[in-house]
Amino acid sequence: MPYQSRFICCIKATFPDEICLLISIKTIRFTQDFATLPNQPAVMDQAHSQSERQVYSLFDITESISRMFRKHYAMPFWIRAEISKLNLYPHSGHCYPDLVDRHQGKVRAQVRGIIWRDDLFEITRKFESVTRESFREGIHIMFLAYVRFSSEYGLSLQIIDIEPLFTLGELAREKLLTIERLKKEGRFNQNKLLEIPLLPSRLAVISAETSKGYSDLKVTLEKNISGYRFHLHMFHALLQGDGAVESIRRQLLAIQAQKHLFDAVLIIRGGGDETGMSCYDNYALASLVAGFPLPVITGIGHSTNETVAEMVAAINKITPTAVAHYLIGRFDEFSNRIGNAAAMLELSARLILQTASDRFAKASEDFVDASFELIKTELQHTDVLGREIRDLVNATVFNHRIALSRYETGISTGPARIFIQSDTKIAELQRMILVHKNHFIKQQIDHLNHTQGKVHLLDPVNVLKRGFSITRLNGKALKGEIKPAAGDELETETLSGKIFSTVINKELS
């Protein structure tokens, strides 16, 4: 591309509107300058014929342009642009940054910048002290620059001063955009919602071996007084400035590929300067942290505002040492829980035993009391029974004694009565005998005489004498039921002898 057309295009694209107006005015002057070239160049007149053409050396042209720039661009302009490439030459100390202007992602203007060594030193110091970012590729800056045109190197912007507050605002804007985008995508709290393992001991550490932060973490974890063991696996990465985003992302992806080996990811930085921390506000990095399948714990040790990566991380601690204490704290908490449970168990067991023991003691006491009470009652009862028995025995014995006394009396008085009775009877009989002895004898004689008379009268001879006879049938006297029939032979005894007869007839009543 010829310098001329490139120049026009870049001027239009890079400059703000108000400056564009200025440029357009100057362009007119530029045209006029062209007209002042020594031998009227043909380029300005399309109507010139081939034969009349005047040819200039390239140098004539570039010098003409150079003169015009020196004349019209004597004063520096405030310009904003992005550093797409820094091009720092350490040997000379000069810097030739590529400055671009992007619109909707496409480069619409690009100019080479120049910062001489002395300016670079001052600009870098000023820039870093305010933004806490290194002067690096990818940042937007607002700078004061002369527009230069050299025949040898073409168009360039010589940067002499910088406004770091602009960059600070740009960085803040980028940070806000990252946060908004993550929230919109619903990823902002994703890592915070992950459950942190009860005892995070297998730790993937993204850090630098030489980092003081990593050393702090390691020492604090290793020297924990309770002797918890942590397994650190180092994933080296750049932790700030240029290349940090890609470096950290690469290691995160490496960890993700073997996530089953780890409980958590630690991003550890600390010590040294705090420039270049804006990488943690980068969307690509913050987004990966937010959506990471393992809890991410950050300890990137800085005094500036919290970065987006720290905001979305499951746990954020200011320093690596604080991260170590947090991890130890998790173990301590669990240890305390176990300790408390053990103490509680012991206490509960003791309580149960005590309660059971108390109950048993009380039951024993009650048993003894009840036994004594029962024995007492029974003793009283038997005592009463014993007394009753004694009383009954005594009463019975007494009654029997009374009875025996009565019997004794009976025995002693009875015979006397019998004697008196017998005596009375004898006396009576004696008296009777004395009173009735004559009468008794006469009575006896009369009785004897009467009996003699009776006996005489009853003699059968006397009966026969008085004319009576006795008729017998078969030897038995006829009386009562013995009744003779006709033809019977009867024997009749009389005083004079026996008569035998036969019954002819009978008339019996």
Partner: protein
Amino acid sequence: MKKEINYTQAITELEAIVSEIENASIGVDELSEKVKRAAELIKYCRSRLTATEKEVNAILGSLGNDEDLQE
């Protein structure tokens, strides 16, 4: 007097004799024999009563001592 006799038999016999004497249903011939028997029975019964009373009191007394020991 027969050795095997017990208190109940003795008192029964005694009562019968007393009854006979009181009702004068006894002959003079047997009287002295019966009175002699009755006197023997009374003596026997009394001794049995005294012995029994003593024994019972001794037993109950020993129970009382046991109670004291238990307490």
